[in-house]
């Protein structure tokens, strides 16, 4: 296992990149500590797969360095980087048994048979594959095959890191949930450095201790799941993390520092001065979890109630602006016209041109 340091890493698929849009990855600089569980989260085309391929060595960066512990691996071949990778679709040898599939990466490297046996059985037991060790892989269901792929990624103990590239995309929701928590349990038992790439916030937030949120080739925020939820440093993170995402409303800040939406004052921890904020595109961001029904506040109409089972999503409108709120399954919705909304103190953040200011 290794600490992974990315130094000013940038990549372009163009031979002579000029403007910003030519760069798939625009200069990334951070450190992943040894033994952590990390996620790279972002929409299609955000650069997360490019970054993963740079780390595994399938791509050479246009600029910057990749350092494992103290060793610069930027120009090293994938096989000497000692990285295990699990892909979106299962890669399994159909003619081999489950046991032989799991043993393959170890036997390939001449590991002692006793050690092979111990590792294979330990990984198989963690993934619930013990009972099928002697079965041919061909006869297995798609999700069992993906478990083998995961197992093959986990079986070696000498790897620098294990990379997962959207490994659960093809799996049905119930099993996806189980595999995700089994992967988490495996990490808690044996602290490999694991890097998990996904567009699915739920997967990223449940798997990782630290999530790297990316958009358009840039890292927008690195933080714990709780930090990304509580204090998104950009409106993109507010929108991308959380379901439904953060409400974003245009506001103004007056000379006294009072934040107003359509003239209604919003209680907020901001001490931002009106002068330096006046000219910028200002928005208040508040998560649907922190919107409250009150006796006074922003007058709104209730336009839709979605029953999502464990919670209800209420959609309100004030003029052309939509504000969403979530209520637990057991809370009643009072019958009122109009409703008045407020935000929980210190849970609304002020953004200027997308970036957090207070």
């Amino acid at each position: 296992m290794a600490r992974i340091r990315l130094q000013d890493l940038a990549h372009s698929y163009h031979p002579n990149p000029s403007d910003d849009r030519d760069w798939a990855l625009r200069g990334v600089d951070f450190v992943w500590d040894d033994g952590g569980a990390f996620a790279l989260l972002g929409p299609s085309g955000c650069g997360k797969t490019t970054l993963l391929n740079l780390i595994s060595g399938l791509l050479r960066p246009t600029k910057g360095r990749i350092v494992f512990d103290e060793q610069d691996v930027t120009m090293l071949e994938p096989r000497v980087r000692n990285i295990a990778q699990v892909f979106q679709f299962p890669v399994v040898y159909d003619t081999m048994t489950v046991y032989e599939n799991l043993a393959f990466p170890l036997r390939n490297r001449g590991v002692q048979p006793e050690v092979v046996d111990r590792r294979v059985r330990s990984v198989a037991s963690a993934l619930g594959l013990d009972a099928s060790l002697n079965n041919r892989a061909r006869a297995l269901t798609a999700d069992a095959k993906q478990k083998i792929s995961l197992g093959r990624g986990l079986v070696r103990q000498d790897v620098s890191a294990i990379l997962f590239d959207e490994p659960l995309t093809v799996i049905d929701p119930h099993l996806k949930w189980r595999l995700r928590s089994e992967l988490k349990a495996l990490h808690q038992q044996s602290p490999f450095t694991m890097i998990y790439v996904t567009h699915d916030q739920t997967e990223a937030l449940t798997f990782a201790d630290q999530v790297v949120v990316m958009n358009e080739g840039e890292v927008i925020q690195i933080g714990t799941p709780a930090a990304l939820f509580d204090r998104p440093n950009h409106t993109f993170v507010g929108h991308f993390i959380g379901s439904p995402g953060m409400n974003l409303l245009p506001v103004s800040v007056d000379q006294a520092g009072v934040v107003r939406f359509e003239g209604y004052a919003i209680q907020n921890s901001s001490r931002g001065s009106g002068e330096n904020l006046a000219a910028k595109g200002l928005q208040i961001g508040v998560r649907p979890e922190f919107v409250r029904l009150q006796r006074e506040g922003i007058p709104v109409n209730l336009v839709r109630v979605i029953d999502a089972g464990h919670m209800r999503i209420l959609e309100f409108r004030h003029g052309e602006h939509s504000i969403k709120m979530v209520l637990s399954e057991s809370s009643a919705i009072p019958d009122r016209t109009p409703y008045f909304l407020g935000f929980e103190p210190n849970r609304a953040h002020l953004y200027a041109d997308g970036w957090i200011v207070a």
């Binding site: 299609s44 049905d172 189980r178 916030q201 709780a226 991308f240 998560r287 999503i313």
Partner: protein
């Protein structure tokens, strides 16, 4: 009204669908929910006329359309893999079914611009599909399906290949887009959250059978059987084996509760208790029954905590708001919100308490 009367499908000795009866109307969404291979696509193909049922009849607005080829039916279908003509502009893609139908050019222009506006595609009408994002491509495919103003619109996991966030926003828009068009809409998905959030009616499927059909909220809270409860729960519902003894329900010698006056509805002996993860909490909110468990996995996501813990009899899932951390291996108390418990007979059927 689309009616399936006792339709079944057998292919090469394998039963894909057991005899099924469904009546689907044009008010609101009809969602087919189930895992891969549960029979969703088979049902859609039977509805479209792409497959002929082995037995039974398909009726549309009273007329028998069993075996009538899809070309002779007024049907639109959207697939998981969005299909556009790569060499045609987005405008031509959307217009293509109308050109085939031989409509006048003025009418085609009017309909294309109206549907493009609705699906927010107006700025992209001159582009080729390859110049659009995945979400825009799928919206173009949906626009092409809707522009014909078909009586029956079938959507087979249309958002499965899209990013999570994009899926969320299209799922939000789609019921509004399709409302008041007078078409019967059938939407297939593997995601319980999607079926619930789309609202409308849901048919839960398991291994070629519809286990229940009804409003999503009532299937979620009053499932007819264990299977339906499981299909609609993500994370999975806890199913605890217990026994009814007199007026008490006992999970173990030390964990049990009084059933109250309704206990007479339950038979003595073996009972399954169903509790969703958000009704099993690591803190007592007042009316819970406590149970000791050993923590196996503890995960804190953005705003909630998921804990898997084991007792002698089973593995449980707890899902609570707020951030609660436990060490793996730690023994701690959980509280079961028994007011929300569902009770099932050994054969899986639910027992109504009132």
């Amino acid at each position: 009204m689309l009616e399936l009367n006792d339709v079944s499908l057998e292919v090469g000795g394998h039963i894909h669908l057991y005899p099924t009866n469904l009546s689907l109307g044009a008010e609101g969404f009809n969602t087919l929910l189930g895992d891969t291979l549960s029979g969703k696509t088979s049902l859609l193909r039977l509805m479209a006329g792409l497959t002929r049922p082995s037995k039974g009849r398909v009726k549309f607005d009273g007329a028998d359309v069993t075996g009538l080829a899809v070309q002779k039916r007024n049907v639109a279908m959207v697939y998981q893999q969005f299909i556009n003509y790569p060499n045609l502009s987005v405008w031509e893609n959307i217009a293509s079914p109308l050109r085939v139908a031989g409509l006048k050019i003025d009418e085609i222009k009017r309909r294309v611009s109206s549907i493009a506006e609705l699906l927010k595609l107006t700025p992209y009408l001159d582009r080729q599909p390859s110049q659009l994002s995945g979400g825009q491509q799928q919206r173009a495919a949906i626009a092409r399906a809707l522009v014909k103003e078909c009586k029956l619109v079938l959507l087979d996991e249309p958002f499965a290949n899209l990013d999570y966030k994009l899926r969320e926003s299209l799922r939000d828009e789609l019921p509004r887009l399709l409302a008041d068009r007078g078409a019967i809409v059938v939407y297939a998905t593997t995601e319980p959250s999607e079926a619930l959030q789309l609202g409308g009616l849901v048919a839960t499927l398991f291994e070629g059978r519809v286990t229940q059909f009804g409003p999503s909220s009532s299937l979620y809270r009053f499932p007819r059987d264990l299977r339906t409860a499981q299909i609609l729960s993500d994370p999975p519902i806890n199913i605890a084996p217990g026994k009814k003894i007199g007026s008490r329900l006992e999970l173990t010698a030390s964990v049990g509760w009084e059933l109250g006056h309704a206990h007479t509805n339950l038979p003595e002996g073996d009972i399954y208790v169903g509790l969703r993860p958000h009704h099993v909490l690591p803190e007592n909110l007042g009316r819970g029954v406590s149970i000791e468990g050993r923590v196996r996995i503890s995960v804190v996501s953005g705003s909630e905590s998921v804990i898997r813990f084991e007792t002698d009899s089973m593995l449980w899932v707890s899902n609570s708001q707020g951030l609660k951390r436990f060490d793996v291996g730690e023994t701690t108390s959980f509280w079961l919100d028994i007011d929300r418990a569902m009770y099932f007979r050994p054969d899986g059927s639910q027992i109504a308490l009132d």
